[in-house]
């Protein structure tokens, strides 16, 4: 074990002055945040574990460990046990009401409008790096640490070394004033390294499977979730049409579709068809050929600023943008349309730009300039 830890030595350095600093670690019960707890304790900080209770499904006391949603009672218990192993206090902050009002209701509304929501971006702003962080600061924490693969560069939010693995995209709607409280102790490590470190440190959840899907929708079953929450109101059968209006098929509800989707159309046509647009008013899914999915301009609203002070400061800015979390960085420039909207014009093409997703602006080094939602 000692041998295994040698390559992580720089993360395990004890510093006397850290004893006076209190860091609250956002514990999800998963391997990343648990490892962060261990590292900070080794580095000598005064560590407190904090977990949010945000959702336990339709059943208040759900403890189904087979369900692939996150932060069930089982996950909270895992977080508690990790904190117990570390001999640090652990508190569970009850955020179920704001989470339902701010994140879940937004999720449902967006689908109803034919958009594809990004609940993680909203949750990070209002709940995680919002209310949870505020609770941590009320506990006397000087900093809040998370297990994100991200960095703070010169006081600014920034991606990790590998821009393809971008968790900062989801953090990018957080309030600028809160960045100064953040720490990302494992921000430079990639997942396999984190698991290796966790195992060497003896973290009990080192091999725990991570939830990949949206945390409040079990097993990624969005349609079922939306139907249950709205009594089937937003999933009504309708037509799949070409851009000229020709009906080519039927759908069972617009909520099953997103821009760029090819699977599940159930349409036979002489060329492959992709979802180009969703019209919630006519309850139609508009499809077309692949080439129609490409464009070089994206409009964003609900702008959140980091490196500049006003929206107008973005006008003419040369930078990089992503229209999806897994997007590559597109080089281009910003045009300010009004004080609430910007247009990013790319030198190359975006594929399948999806209303509701995030349009995030970065510098070449991965520092987040601003974040917005695609109109």
């Amino acid at each position: 074990m000692v041998e295994d830890l040698k390559k992580f030595e720089h993360l395990l350095q004890f510093k006397e002055e850290n004893k006076a600093i209190t860091v609250a670690v956002g514990m999800s019960g998963g391997v990343d945040s648990s490892t962060v707890g261990y590292l900070l304790k080794k580095q000598g900080y005064n560590v407190i574990g904090i977990t949010m209770k945000h959702w336990s499904g339709m059943d208040e006391y759900a403890t189904d460990s087979n369900s692939k949603s996150c932060c069930s009672l089982d996950d909270i218990h895992d977080a508690r046990r990790v904190c117990d192993d570390l001999e640090i206090p652990h508190y569970v902050v009850n955020l179920t009401e704001p989470f339902k009002d701010i994140v879940v209701d937004y999720f449902i509304d967006e689908y109803a409008k034919g958009r594809t929501p990004n609940p993680c971006m909203v949750c990070n702003r209002h709940i995680k790096l919002g209310k949870l962080m505020e609770a941590a600061l009320k506990l006397g924490a000087d900093y809040v640490a998370t297990g994100h693969y991200a960095r703070i560069k010169n006081g600014l939010l920034s991606t990790g070394d590998d821009p393809r693995k971008d968790q900062v995209y989801f953090l990018s709607q957080m309030k600028k004033e809160y960045v100064k409280y953040l720490m990302f102790p494992i921000g430079e490590l990639e997942k396999p390294q984190v698991r290796e470190l966790a195992k060497a440190l003896g973290v009990r959840v080192h091999a725990k499977r991570e939830s990949q899907e949206i945390c409040f929708v079990e097993d990624g079953k969005y349609k079922e979730f939306l139907d249950t929450m709205t009594n089937g109101k937003i999933s009504k059968a309708g037509n799949i049409v070409l851009e000229n209006g020709t009906i080519v098929g039927k759908h069972e509800g617009i909520t099953s579709y997103t821009i760029g989707q090819r699977k599940g159309l159930g349409v036979s046509y002489h060329e492959p068809l992709y979802v180009l647009k969703i019209d919630s008013e006519k309850n139609e899914v508009i499809v077309g050929s692949d080439d129609k999915l490409f464009r070089n301009s994206v409009i964003g609203s609900d702008i959140n600023l980091f490196t500049v002070n006003t929206v107008n400061d973005l006008n003419g800015l040369q930078c990089f943008a992503k229209a999806r979390s897994r997007d590559r960085l597109h080089k281009g420039s910003v045009k300010v349309l009004n004080d609430k909207e910007i247009e990013f014009i790319s030198e190359d093409m975006f594929r399948a730009v999806t209303p509701g997703q995030g349009l995030v602006l970065y510098t070449e080094d991965g520092v987040v300039i601003a974040s917005s939602f695609i109109k």
Binding site: E60, P89, E97, E134, A135, K138, L139
Partner: protein
């Protein structure tokens, strides 16, 4: 059957089981009393109040956790719900937990030997604590019937604070109090007792419960109130910032 809690665990209010017992006797209704919170604190005899069934538990008298008892007045017939063996004079199957029962018995004996003196001591301590809190911390109200409650419980609503946050901060300082009762911890709902008193949800979520015991001293109270003052002030100041 009429079932009444003798003393409310959240705010301490004592119900008038004497009058209720008389009604039950007159109407020939089975009378059950949940005396879990009052047994060992208030001296009373079930026969005097026409009580047919009474529930008690050891952990409320510093006895072991995991053992309770049901007093059954002679003549009250019960249907056996746990079957299989003939223990407890064929009332409840299963090998009895002798060490726990022995602990329960001893705890009861000890509690009764000091029942009046200890009740009085705790009442004075509790009253002292409330006076100190009301004097030093603004916008605090005491819930319940101030003259007719358990001598060791205090339910306080502290305006413009979140009880959850106060609990965590006091815990960090080595002080344990609660918000609501153990029965509803972990759930989201604000105390149904406080809501029944006419509190709105916001007030209910700003309410804490402090219960004192035989190991608490005046020094504990002084320290508690001092820390509570600091925590409440911090909580109220930060509420504006965020």
């Amino acid at each position: 059957m009429i079932s009444i809690i003798h003393a409310n665990n959240e705010i301490g209010t004592i119900q008038d089981i004497k009058s209720i017992g008389e009604i039950c006797k007159a109407k020939n209704i089975i009378f059950h009393v949940d005396a879990v919170q009052s047994f060992g604190k208030i001296l009373f005899y079930p026969e005097e109040y026409n009580i047919n069934l009474m529930s008690i538990a050891a952990h409320k008298l510093y006895g072991p956790k995991g053992i309770g008892a049901l007093y059954i007045s002679s003549g009250t017939k019960l249907e056996k719900i746990i079957t299989g063996g003939y223990q407890e004079r064929n009332r409840r199957a299963g090998t009895e937990n002798i060490p726990a029962i022995a602990g329960f018995a001893k705890a009861t004996e000890l509690a009764y030997s000091t029942i009046h003196a200890e009740s009085q001591r705790e009442k004075e301590l509790r009253d002292y604590m409330e006076t100190l809190i009301l004097k030093n911390i603004p916008l605090v109200t005491i819930n319940g019937d101030l003259n007719n409650r358990l001598s060791n419980v205090s339910s306080l609503t502290i305006d413009n604070t979140m009880a959850e946050s106060i609990l965590f901060n006091l815990d960090l300082r080595g002080i344990c109090i609660s918000a609501g009762s153990a029965c509803s911890s972990g759930t989201l709902n604000p105390s149904h007792v406080l809501l029944a008193l006419g509190h709105d949800t916001k007030m209910a979520k700003s309410s804490i419960r402090v219960s004192l015991g035989k190991f608490n001293t005046k020094e504990d109270i002084d320290e508690f109130v001092k820390q509570l003052e600091l925590v409440v002030e911090q909580e109220r100041n930060l509420s504006d910032l965020y």
